[in-house]
């Protein structure tokens, strides 16, 4: 299933799987897809999430408290694939859980589960040759991060090996919501555009309808992560699916309203 963004801007929703428990993540993911998320990033909780801010750190801790594993993430992916065939499904992880699972075994299991792509936070193109071969063998799209600090020559290399979409990091820093978007994001997307026809999704710090609409002006999609995870934390397991649906519908509505008049 190719990754497609039906409406511009596309919406990529990140959740830490198992936060607060697997059944809730399942319900939340369904709610997010039905509310208009094009792609779900299934975050694999990791004990040492060094690229993540406090919100996702806490979510990882909650998920690990009852031992959420990469196998659990793949099982959830298989369930979601059966229930929502059109949704894009990405496994979002640090590298060590994949290494421990076995790179080849992981790719085979992910393909079997109906996963579309894989994003490894601490995998860079220079280290990726085995990784890329394994993903290609199993028809999984390698999604790479591009950063405001990446020079053009790196962006070209990232674009050359990416499939599905490219994840442009909106600013230097760790994950987490912020008040305003920096100019970094737009500049990065403009630079990246010269090297790729793939959709470009902008992530890190996008939390409001205004951010979401603003990203739509210059990119194909926006990734919403910490804002969703914080909503789950505040709403609690019972209310979380509804709260997530409302948040995503609000982003969608806000961007339609903002998009109508030209900027």
């Amino acid at each position: 299933m190719p990754i497609r963004f039906a409406e511009k801007p596309g919406l990529v929703a990140y959740f830490t799987v198992g936060d607060p428990d697997l059944a809730t993540t399942h319900a939340i993911a369904l709610a997010a897809i039905d509310a208009g998320a094009d792609v779900i990033e299934l975050g694999v909780p990791f004990s040492d999430p060094l690229a993540d801010g406090p919100v996702i750190q806490r979510a990882s801790e909650r998920a690990l408290r009852h031992g959420t594993s990469l196998r659990d993430v793949l099982n959830l992916a298989a369930t979601l694939r059966a229930e929502r065939p059109h949704a894009g499904l990405i496994v979002f992880t640090y590298y060590n859980p994949i290494l421990r699972f076995g790179l080849e075994e992981f790719c085979a299991a992910a393909e079997q589960a109906g996963v579309d792509g894989v994003l490894v936070t601490d995998m860079i193109v220079e280290e990726a040759s085995e990784y890329l071969q394994a993903l290609h063998r199993h028809h999984l799209a390698p999604v790479f991060l591009a950063a405001p600090t990446s020079p053009d020559e790196r962006l070209a290399r990232i674009a050359a090996v990416s499939r599905g979409f490219i994840y442009a990091i909106s600013r230097v820093g760790i994950t987490g919501a912020q008040k305003s978007l920096t100019a970094d994001a737009e500049q990065l997307v403009r630079r990246l555009r010269r090297f790729t026809q793939l959709p470009i999704a902008v992530g890190f710090g996008i939390s409001t309808p205004e951010h979401f609409a603003a990203v739509g002006e210059f990119a194909d999609a926006a990734v919403i992560g910490s804002a969703l995870v914080a909503t789950i934390e505040q709403a609690g397991p019972k209310e979380a699916p509804d709260a997530i649906a409302r948040l995503i519908e609000g982003l969608r509505r806000g961007s339609r309203e903002t998009a109508a008049p030209a900027r």
Binding site: S47, D48, L70, N96, R100, A147, T149, S150, V172
Partner: protein
């Protein structure tokens, strides 16, 4: 087979660069600046001058006559890194990286610290060079190495406590990396061990090579031959790789690294990566990592904060696999006993980290012959550990 090739930051299968994309440009910049500095005679002149006049190099290679007599076997020499300014070998690397930061025009320095020795050395170098200094330290380590917290503050550094995970060195590194990702344009991350993403393991090793270079020359001057064995403790492994490196081509010299055996062999109770770990990626590098069956990093324990870490420098992983170096572990209790042994035979109180090397020496030396020579790297002094030693060895009111 030589396991120390540094092509693209790899040591055999180990090493590499596993980091968020945001950091790659800074690592490239650092690699470039380091290569330029290496080729610049002025850099070496300046560094050598600081090592001599500020840090106090060369450090003595001291014949431990009473310890030798007590153990009744091999002749034991101590490489006295504990005599360096700030109290441990860490200053070698801090001066080198500090000069690099100046060359790169970075005015802000961040560092992690476990036992606090790297933090104190970083804070001293920042004071010396007029750089802003922030040190991340696990809450648990701030409690057990309180004196070093005060020393860092005295030197003008800001010590930020880290309360995530095991609240020790690993978590301090993660927090320092988060800071670096955020402030990468203005900040140099002065990593304190031969760990992390390329070029750190190579660069940190190079700044500590002076330990082995001096020791090799000194033992030849004193004994007119090479030692039988060199013993060093291994947390991340900076003092060990510095002590070992010059001897790697000398195949007859045994290289012995000592990990923290902690309270026992169960996962979570020790920091013995080779006996309890498996290859994996943690904090930028591929090496042996203590982890569970799902690839989650395990908790560790050691009485010594500087050895209390779930992974090990990648060059040690290569030396282990090739068999060029041997790795073993000693327990908390053995390390404490060795601290007392060295204090009472030689009048030297080693750091609890270094005491692990002394303990291994105490096990081996009696089984060796009087013609064998052993060099023990006393990587740091034990002043910082007096609180722990007082408690563990029941010093209040003891004889």
């Amino acid at each position: 087979m030589e396991a120390t090739s540094t092509i693209a930051g790899r040591f055999g299968a180990y090493g590499g660069r596993y980091v968020p994309e945001t950091l790659v440009a800074a690592l490239d910049e650092l690699e470039h600046a380091y290569a330029e500095a290496q080729a610049d005679p002025d850099f070496h002149l300046k560094l050598d001058e600081l090592l001599r006049d500020f840090a106090g190099r060369p450090t003595p290679l001291y014949f431990a006559a009473r310890l030798t007599e007590r153990l009744g076997g091999a002749k034991i020499y101590l490489k006295r890194e504990d005599l360096l300014h700030t109290g441990a070998h860490k200053i070698n690397n801090c001066l080198g990286q500090g000069l690099l930061a100046l060359r790169m025009g970075k005015q802000r320095i961040i560092a992690e610290t476990g036992a606090g020795q790297h933090g104190v050395a970083t804070a001293s170098v920042c004071a010396l060079f007029g750089l802003e200094c922030v040190v991340y330290m696990g809450e648990e380590d701030m409690l057990r190495q309180e004196l070093n917290v005060y020393r860092m503050r005295m030197l003008g550094a800001e010590v930020r406590s880290v309360s995530s995970g095991s609240r020790t060195l690993k978590d301090a590194i993660s927090e320092a990396m988060r800071d670096w990702v955020t402030n990468v344009r203005t900040t140099h991350y002065l990593l304190g061990s031969a760990l992390g993403a390329h070029p750190y393991p190579t660069m940190v090793r190079d700044f500590h090579r002076v330990i082995g270079r001096e020791a090799r020359q000194q033992i030849i001057e004193k004994e007119n031959r090479l030692p039988t064995a060199i013993i060093a403790c291994v947390g991340g492994g900076s003092n060990a790789i510095g002590a070992f490196y010059e001897f790697i081509p000398d195949k007859d010299v045994q290289l012995i690294g000592v990990e923290a055996g902690g309270r026992g062999a169960q996962l979570g109770e020790h920091a013995a990566r080779f006996s309890g770990g498996a290859p994996g990626v943690l904090q930028g590098t591929y090496s042996y990592v203590l982890q569970d069956e799902n690839g989650q990093i395990a908790l560790t324990h050691s009485v010594s904060a500087g050895l209390d870490y779930a992974s090990i420098g990648p060059e040690h992983a290569a030396l282990h696999d090739s068999g060029r170096a041997e790795y073993t572990s000693v327990t908390d209790a053995e390390a404490l006993e060795a601290t007392l042994l060295l204090a009472r035979t030689e009048g030297i109180i080693p750091a609890l980290e270094s005491a692990h090397a002394v303990a291994e020496c105490a096990k081996r030396a009696p089984k060796m012959s009087g013609s064998d020579l052993v060099i023990v790297s006393v990587s740091g002094r034990g002043d910082k550990d007096m609180g722990i030693l007082a408690r563990e060895l029941k010093l209040s009111g003891a004889k």
